[in-house]
Every structure is written in C-alpha cells, then in structure tokens.
C-alpha cells in the first residue's frame, strides 16, 4: 500500500510536470517537481528509500527528456544520497531551510547538466544560463518547494497513520 502510494505520487508529479506545469512558466522557467520530490524523500525517508527515489526519479526524467545520457540520474541520485546520508547533520525543517537546500540542490542539478553538456554531450548552452536560467530555476524551486513539502507531509502523515510504514523516519 505504502509503495503503491509512493509510485502514484511520482506518476502524478511527472504527469503535472509534463503537461500543465508550463502554464506556471515564468520567462520559460518551470519548477522541477522531481527534484523537490527527491529532496523530500532524502530528508523524510529512510536512506534506502532516499537513494532509491533519486535513482528511479532521475532515470524516469532521463527517459522523458530524450535520453540525456543519464544526466538526471546522476544528479538526482547524488542529491538523494546527500540528503539521506547527511540529514542528521543539519536541520531541514521550516520554510527557510527547505528553500535554502532546494536552491542548493537546483544549482547542483543545473551545474551537472552544464558540465555534461559541455563535455560528454558537446551541446550548446546559452551564455545566459548562469545569470538567467539557473538562478531563476533555483529560486523558483526554492519558492514552490516548501508548499510541495507541506502537501507531501500531509499525504505521508496520512499514509503513515494508515500503514505505519517504517520507511518514514520523521514524524510530521
């Protein structure tokens, strides 16, 4: 039941991301729901679940982006691993810490893309990437992230009360 619900959440997030999220685009920038989900799992779930969600979500994102040669798998796995391994070392509760760590994760995600594109994929990235797209993307994720965290907290609290799943490490 718990895992089915988690899969359902991922499916819903990806459906929103690939369809009407463009409606909320600001200057061509949209938030990355997959990234927010991975950070959420890294912070709130067990280590295995955090890393697993990073790998699975990244792979799904790669397959839906025209095969970016695992760029998203790499960045999301690392982000999932980072938060799963170090969540006890820092405090990711409240709007400002969540926004701060989401901005950091977004910057990392963008940099992984940039370096992959400039090295392995030999693609062209606009010069405005560093002063326009990447900051806007990071801030957008940081602003929208705490709201999504709140919604996911409510869903997972309800799921926990129904299933009592041990993979949730923090009571919300």
């Amino acid at each position: 039941m718990y895992y089915v619900a988690q899969i359902l959440i991922v499916v819903i997030l990806f459906s929103i991301q690939t369809t009407w999220l463009k409606t909320f685009s600001i200057g061509g920038v949209v938030p990355d729901l997959a990234l927010i989900w991975v950070v959420y799992c890294g912070v709130h779930c067990s280590r295995a679940m955090g890393i697993g969600s990073g790998i699975v979500t990244g792979m799904l994102q790669d397959s839906l982006s025209g095969g970016l040669l695992g760029v998203n798998t790499l960045s999301k796995s690392f982000i999932g691993f980072f938060f799963s391994a170090l969540k006890d070392k820092f405090f990711v509760e409240g709007v400002i810490p969540i926004a701060f760590f989401l901005i950091l994760s977004s910057l990392f995600d963008g940099l992984v893309f940039y370096f992959s594109m400039n090295t392995v994929l030999e693609g062209e990235v606009a010069p405005s990437f560093f002063y326009q797209s990447l900051p806007a993307y990071s801030i957008y994720n940081g602003v929208i992230g705490p709201v999504i965290f709140l919604v996911l907290n409510k869903i997972n609290s309800w799921l926990k009360s129904k299933t009592g799943n041990p993979h949730m490490t923090r009571a919300n």
Partner: protein, 246 residues
Amino acid sequence: MSLNAKQEKEISFLDSFAGLILSPFQNLFTQTVQGISDGINHYFDLVDVSKENERLHLEVERLVNEKNDLIERISRQKRLAGLMAYQDDRKKKSLVASVIGRDATQWSKVVFIDKGTRDGVETHFAVVTNSGVIGQIIHAGPTTSKVLLTIDSRSAVDSIFQESRVSGVVVGTGEEHCIVKFVPNTADIKVGDRVLSSGLGGVFPKGLIVGTVSQVVKKKQGLFQEILLTPSSDLSRLEEVLVFLS
C-alpha cells in the same frame, strides 16, 4: 329649493369632515393591506424568480461552456486548415499529430506527440508546422513519439540564409532562441534575414523555414559571426504539428 340647498351644504360638510378624519386611516389600512398583499405576492414571485435565476445561471454556464468548446473547435479547425494547406503545398506524405506532453526537465526541450510507429512514424522524421521547422523525432514508440525541438541544446540543423545563400548550422541553446554557427565574418548577414533548411543531413527537406535572424555580432577577431536566431514557430505554444513520413 332653499331646503335642498341647506341639506346639500350640511351633507357636503359632513362628508368632508368624515373624509378628513377617516382618510388617513383609510390610507393606512389600504396601504397596509396592499403592502401585505404585495409582500405575499412578491414573496411567491421571488421564490419563482430565485428558481428561475438558478435555472438561468445553469443555462448561462452551459452556454459559456458550449461557446468555449465552439471557439476551441474553430481555432483547432483553423490551425488544422493551415497545416493541411501547408501539407498540400509541400506535396510530401505527412501526418498531423497533437502535442500531448512536454519535457520533464527545465534543461531539455522535447515534446510528446500522439502518433507512433503504428501510424508510420519513425526516428529522424522531420516535424514541422505551417510556420516552419520545429524539430525531429528522436524516439518513436508504438502510439507516441518524442520530438527534439530545434531550441534543445542537442539539436543541430544544417541551414542556408535565404538572401545570401551562405550556409551555417542552427544550434539550440536550451533557451527560447537558437544560434547559427560557422558563418564566416565576411558574409553579409542582416537582422531579419530568413534561415532555411539546406536539405543536407537527411532529416529536413530543403527550403523549410528554420527561423529569422534577430541579432548579428561581428567580432574583429575570430573567423565566424555570432548570430542569434528566433525560431519560425512559437515552440512554447505548440498544439498540432505535421510529421513528414519519409
């Protein structure tokens, strides 16, 4: 005669006096009764009006939805007519497809269409609109396909300038515009020049509009110009596209 006149005078006085005393009460009673009667009538009328209002609201809602639906159909018909006219002009076997989804990340520029291998779509088929090139199929599933847009960082289209016939390569930047690479500094390129597909590369037929030059920077040092290109179609608002089936 005199008696009658006296009686009439007395009656008239009594009448006037009685009328003077009674009329305020008469008015009061009449108005009260009328008011109550009107109130009751209006109450029942209001119940009817309220029901009617509710019914009319539903009717208006239905008509607004119907109108929106019709506007949407007309607009779709117009877009399809444009695509069909373009299809007839090109005299090339093609297929109209609807865009059903977009990229899952900020960094890639991909759309999903509702036609796949069952409809004859294959990898590396050109995808266009009546405004020009939008991209190529990079993966064809049985019922859906992925289209790599020309603005994606991994996209490259061999092109020529319509006026000067100078060749270059249109490369996506991951933003809303492309750049044209490998255009020599000596070439005469102006803002507003059209860029067409050259037909080389085997994906896009020759002569399709790729975009319009929006900025030209000629460096004193270096071999090539820096040319910014605005794609021919608004790639953020794609709804129906044409897939060339060869």
